[in-house]
Protein backbone atom coordinates (compact mmCIF):
# COMPACT_ATOMS: atom_id res chain seq x y z
CA UNK A 1 0.00 0.00 0.00
CA UNK A 2 3.07 2.23 0.16
CA UNK A 3 2.82 4.59 -2.76
CA UNK A 4 6.11 5.69 -4.15
CA UNK A 5 5.74 8.72 -6.39
CA UNK A 6 5.42 7.71 -10.05
CA UNK A 7 8.27 10.08 -10.96
CA UNK A 8 10.53 10.37 -7.93
CA UNK A 9 12.42 13.60 -7.40
CA UNK A 10 16.04 12.87 -6.52
CA UNK A 11 17.68 14.96 -3.85
CA UNK A 12 20.90 15.56 -1.97
CA UNK A 13 19.33 16.29 1.39
CA UNK A 14 21.04 13.40 3.22
CA UNK A 15 24.49 14.48 1.92
CA UNK A 16 23.86 18.13 2.75
CA UNK A 17 22.66 17.22 6.24
CA UNK A 18 25.72 15.03 6.81
CA UNK A 19 28.04 17.83 5.64
CA UNK A 20 26.48 20.23 8.11
CA UNK A 21 26.06 17.68 10.90
CA UNK A 22 22.30 18.18 11.05
CA UNK A 23 19.74 15.68 12.23
CA UNK A 24 16.42 15.27 10.45
CA UNK A 25 14.74 16.87 13.42
CA UNK A 26 16.88 20.01 13.11
CA UNK A 27 16.18 20.35 9.39
CA UNK A 28 12.49 19.65 9.98
CA UNK A 29 12.28 22.33 12.68
CA UNK A 30 14.01 24.83 10.39
CA UNK A 31 11.58 24.35 7.49
CA UNK A 32 8.46 23.70 9.60
CA UNK A 33 7.69 20.06 8.86
CA UNK A 34 7.69 16.78 10.77
CA UNK A 35 11.06 14.99 10.98
CA UNK A 36 9.49 11.87 9.48
CA UNK A 37 8.63 13.85 6.36
CA UNK A 38 12.32 14.70 5.92
CA UNK A 39 13.05 10.96 5.94
CA UNK A 40 10.34 10.19 3.37
CA UNK A 41 11.64 12.99 1.08
CA UNK A 42 15.24 11.72 1.43
CA UNK A 43 14.19 8.19 0.53
CA UNK A 44 12.21 9.42 -2.49
CA UNK A 45 8.95 8.19 -0.99
CA UNK A 46 7.41 11.63 -1.00
CA UNK A 47 7.82 14.41 -3.54
CA UNK A 48 7.82 17.76 -1.72
CA UNK A 49 5.70 20.67 -2.91
CA UNK A 50 7.49 23.50 -4.71
CA UNK A 51 7.06 25.61 -1.60
CA UNK A 52 8.78 23.01 0.61
CA UNK A 53 11.50 22.30 -1.96
CA UNK A 54 12.35 26.02 -2.13
CA UNK A 55 12.35 26.25 1.68
CA UNK A 56 14.80 23.34 1.97
CA UNK A 57 17.07 24.75 -0.76
CA UNK A 58 16.98 28.19 0.89
CA UNK A 59 17.83 26.64 4.25
CA UNK A 60 20.98 25.11 2.75
CA UNK A 61 21.70 28.37 0.88
CA UNK A 62 21.75 26.60 -2.48
CA UNK A 63 19.80 26.93 -5.73
CA UNK A 64 16.93 24.49 -5.92
CA UNK A 65 18.53 22.45 -8.73
CA UNK A 66 21.53 21.78 -6.50
CA UNK A 67 19.25 20.02 -4.00
CA UNK A 68 16.50 18.50 -6.16
CA UNK A 69 16.60 16.98 -9.62
CA UNK A 70 14.34 14.80 -11.78
CA UNK A 71 17.48 12.79 -12.74
CA UNK A 72 19.76 10.93 -10.32
CA UNK A 73 22.66 13.03 -9.03
CA UNK A 74 26.19 12.05 -9.87
CA UNK A 75 28.06 11.02 -6.70
CA UNK A 76 30.15 13.85 -5.25
CA UNK A 77 33.34 11.71 -5.45
CA UNK A 78 32.82 11.22 -9.20
CA UNK A 79 32.29 14.95 -9.66
CA UNK A 80 35.48 15.75 -7.77
CA UNK A 81 37.80 12.96 -8.90
CA UNK A 82 36.18 11.56 -12.03
CA UNK A 83 35.08 7.99 -12.63
CA UNK A 84 37.24 5.05 -11.42
CA UNK A 85 39.62 3.68 -14.09
CA UNK A 86 37.66 0.40 -14.59
CA UNK A 87 34.44 2.31 -15.31
CA UNK A 88 36.20 4.46 -17.90
CA UNK A 89 37.68 1.33 -19.56
CA UNK A 90 34.29 -0.39 -19.51
CA UNK A 91 32.64 2.64 -21.07
CA UNK A 92 35.34 2.75 -23.78
CA UNK A 93 34.95 -1.00 -24.50
CA UNK A 94 31.18 -0.82 -24.76
CA UNK A 95 31.44 2.20 -27.06
Amino acid sequence: MTRRPATPIHNRIAVLRAERGLSRQELADAVGINYQTVGYVERGEYNPSLDLAFSIAAFFGLPIDAVFSPDPFEPMSVKLYGRPAEDVEEAATSA
Binding site: L22, R24, Q25, T37, G39, Y40, Y46
Partner: protein, 167 residues
Protein backbone atom coordinates in the same frame (compact mmCIF):
# COMPACT_ATOMS: atom_id res chain seq x y z
CA UNK B 1 3.14 3.31 34.84
CA UNK B 2 6.44 2.58 33.12
CA UNK B 3 4.69 0.01 30.93
CA UNK B 4 2.02 2.54 29.95
CA UNK B 5 4.72 5.10 29.19
CA UNK B 6 6.70 2.69 27.01
CA UNK B 7 3.53 1.69 25.13
CA UNK B 8 2.74 5.40 24.64
CA UNK B 9 6.22 5.88 23.17
CA UNK B 10 6.08 2.71 21.05
CA UNK B 11 2.74 3.31 19.32
CA UNK B 12 3.56 6.31 17.06
CA UNK B 13 6.66 4.50 15.74
CA UNK B 14 5.14 1.01 15.56
CA UNK B 15 6.17 -0.98 12.50
CA UNK B 16 3.54 -1.30 9.82
CA UNK B 17 3.26 -5.06 10.25
CA UNK B 18 2.36 -4.60 13.94
CA UNK B 19 -0.06 -1.82 13.08
CA UNK B 20 -1.79 -3.95 10.47
CA UNK B 21 -2.16 -6.83 12.92
CA UNK B 22 -3.73 -4.44 15.42
CA UNK B 23 -6.14 -3.13 12.77
CA UNK B 24 -7.11 -6.67 11.74
CA UNK B 25 -7.66 -7.71 15.38
CA UNK B 26 -9.77 -4.62 15.99
CA UNK B 27 -11.83 -5.15 12.86
CA UNK B 28 -12.43 -8.84 13.57
CA UNK B 29 -13.14 -8.70 17.32
CA UNK B 30 -16.67 -7.32 17.70
CA UNK B 31 -18.14 -8.77 14.47
CA UNK B 32 -16.89 -12.22 15.60
CA UNK B 33 -18.73 -11.74 18.91
CA UNK B 34 -21.99 -11.10 17.03
CA UNK B 35 -21.34 -13.89 14.52
CA UNK B 36 -20.46 -16.40 17.23
CA UNK B 37 -23.54 -15.47 19.24
CA UNK B 38 -25.81 -15.79 16.20
CA UNK B 39 -24.37 -19.04 14.86
CA UNK B 40 -23.32 -20.87 18.06
CA UNK B 41 -25.29 -19.64 21.06
CA UNK B 42 -28.71 -18.87 19.53
CA UNK B 43 -29.04 -22.30 17.80
CA UNK B 44 -27.90 -23.92 21.09
CA UNK B 45 -24.62 -25.37 19.76
CA UNK B 46 -22.74 -24.10 22.82
CA UNK B 47 -23.77 -22.78 26.20
CA UNK B 48 -23.78 -19.05 26.87
CA UNK B 49 -21.44 -19.68 29.80
CA UNK B 50 -18.84 -21.18 27.46
CA UNK B 51 -19.22 -18.42 24.91
CA UNK B 52 -19.09 -15.52 27.41
CA UNK B 53 -15.32 -15.62 28.13
CA UNK B 54 -14.54 -15.95 24.40
CA UNK B 55 -16.84 -13.00 23.66
CA UNK B 56 -15.17 -11.02 26.42
CA UNK B 57 -11.72 -11.69 24.92
CA UNK B 58 -12.87 -10.71 21.42
CA UNK B 59 -14.50 -7.52 22.74
CA UNK B 60 -11.31 -6.73 24.66
CA UNK B 61 -9.31 -7.18 21.42
CA UNK B 62 -11.51 -4.57 19.76
CA UNK B 63 -11.33 -2.14 22.70
CA UNK B 64 -7.55 -2.47 23.10
CA UNK B 65 -7.14 -2.21 19.31
CA UNK B 66 -9.20 0.99 19.14
CA UNK B 67 -7.09 2.53 21.92
CA UNK B 68 -3.87 1.45 20.16
CA UNK B 69 -5.04 2.90 16.83
CA UNK B 70 -5.85 6.23 18.45
CA UNK B 71 -2.49 6.02 20.23
CA UNK B 72 -0.76 5.64 16.87
CA UNK B 73 -2.73 8.32 15.03
CA UNK B 74 -2.68 10.93 17.83
CA UNK B 75 -4.96 13.33 16.03
CA UNK B 76 -3.23 12.90 12.67
CA UNK B 77 -6.45 11.51 11.17
CA UNK B 78 -8.60 14.45 12.35
CA UNK B 79 -9.88 16.67 9.57
CA UNK B 80 -9.50 19.78 11.70
CA UNK B 81 -5.88 19.08 12.62
CA UNK B 82 -3.86 22.25 12.02
CA UNK B 83 -0.45 20.95 13.10
CA UNK B 84 0.05 18.55 10.18
CA UNK B 85 2.66 19.21 7.52
CA UNK B 86 1.91 18.79 3.80
CA UNK B 87 2.78 15.07 3.66
CA UNK B 88 0.80 14.22 6.78
CA UNK B 89 -2.20 16.17 5.45
CA UNK B 90 -1.94 14.26 2.16
CA UNK B 91 -1.88 10.88 3.96
CA UNK B 92 -4.82 11.96 6.16
CA UNK B 93 -6.88 12.95 3.11
CA UNK B 94 -6.07 9.62 1.50
CA UNK B 95 -7.11 7.80 4.69
CA UNK B 96 -10.48 9.59 4.61
CA UNK B 97 -11.00 8.79 0.93
CA UNK B 98 -10.20 5.12 1.59
CA UNK B 99 -12.53 5.16 4.62
CA UNK B 100 -15.38 6.26 2.38
CA UNK B 101 -14.52 3.50 -0.10
CA UNK B 102 -14.36 0.95 2.75
CA UNK B 103 -17.79 1.93 4.07
CA UNK B 104 -19.29 1.70 0.58
CA UNK B 105 -17.75 -1.76 0.03
CA UNK B 106 -18.92 -3.04 3.45
CA UNK B 107 -22.49 -1.81 2.82
CA UNK B 108 -22.49 -3.32 -0.68
CA UNK B 109 -21.21 -6.67 0.64
CA UNK B 110 -23.82 -6.64 3.44
CA UNK B 111 -26.61 -6.03 0.91
CA UNK B 112 -25.33 -8.81 -1.36
CA UNK B 113 -25.10 -11.11 1.69
CA UNK B 114 -28.70 -10.32 2.63
CA UNK B 115 -29.85 -11.03 -0.93
CA UNK B 116 -28.01 -14.37 -0.91
CA UNK B 117 -29.54 -15.34 2.46
CA UNK B 118 -32.99 -14.33 1.26
CA UNK B 119 -32.75 -16.23 -2.04
CA UNK B 120 -31.20 -19.37 -0.52
CA UNK B 121 -33.54 -19.64 2.49
CA UNK B 122 -36.58 -18.09 0.85
CA UNK B 123 -37.27 -16.10 4.00
CA UNK B 124 -37.51 -12.36 4.34
CA UNK B 125 -34.79 -10.71 6.37
CA UNK B 126 -36.54 -8.84 9.17
CA UNK B 127 -34.92 -5.65 10.38
CA UNK B 128 -35.76 -6.23 14.04
CA UNK B 129 -34.99 -3.94 16.94
CA UNK B 130 -32.16 -6.28 18.01
CA UNK B 131 -30.58 -6.23 14.54
CA UNK B 132 -30.80 -2.43 14.37
CA UNK B 133 -29.16 -2.31 17.81
CA UNK B 134 -26.27 -4.53 16.70
CA UNK B 135 -25.78 -2.53 13.51
CA UNK B 136 -25.86 0.76 15.42
CA UNK B 137 -23.32 -0.53 17.97
CA UNK B 138 -21.01 -1.77 15.23
CA UNK B 139 -21.25 1.56 13.40
CA UNK B 140 -20.66 3.47 16.64
CA UNK B 141 -17.52 1.45 17.34
CA UNK B 142 -15.99 1.40 13.89
CA UNK B 143 -17.03 4.55 12.00
CA UNK B 144 -15.23 7.06 14.26
CA UNK B 145 -12.00 5.03 14.34
CA UNK B 146 -12.01 4.11 10.64
CA UNK B 147 -9.87 7.00 9.27
CA UNK B 148 -7.28 6.46 12.04
CA UNK B 149 -7.29 2.70 11.35
CA UNK B 150 -6.77 3.30 7.62
CA UNK B 151 -3.98 5.74 8.47
CA UNK B 152 -2.34 3.06 10.65
CA UNK B 153 -2.70 0.63 7.75
CA UNK B 154 -1.25 2.79 4.95
CA UNK B 155 1.40 4.86 6.70
CA UNK B 156 4.85 3.49 5.73
CA UNK B 157 7.44 2.69 8.37
CA UNK B 158 9.22 5.68 9.81
CA UNK B 159 12.65 6.15 8.20
CA UNK B 160 15.36 5.68 10.82
CA UNK B 161 18.19 8.11 11.25
CA UNK B 162 21.01 8.21 13.75
CA UNK B 163 19.72 11.60 14.93
CA UNK B 164 16.26 10.29 15.68
CA UNK B 165 17.16 6.97 17.26
CA UNK B 166 18.18 8.61 20.48
CA UNK B 167 15.08 10.80 20.65
Amino acid sequence: MTFARSIFRFLPNARRRSRRLIVLGTAAGYPLVLLGYATLVVPGRIQLGVWAPIALLLTAATVVGVVAIYGFARGRADLGSAHLDERQAQVRDRAWALSYATVVIVIALALVGLMVVRSSSGQDVVLSGDLIGYLATTAAIYLPVLPAAILAWIEPDVPTDEGERSR
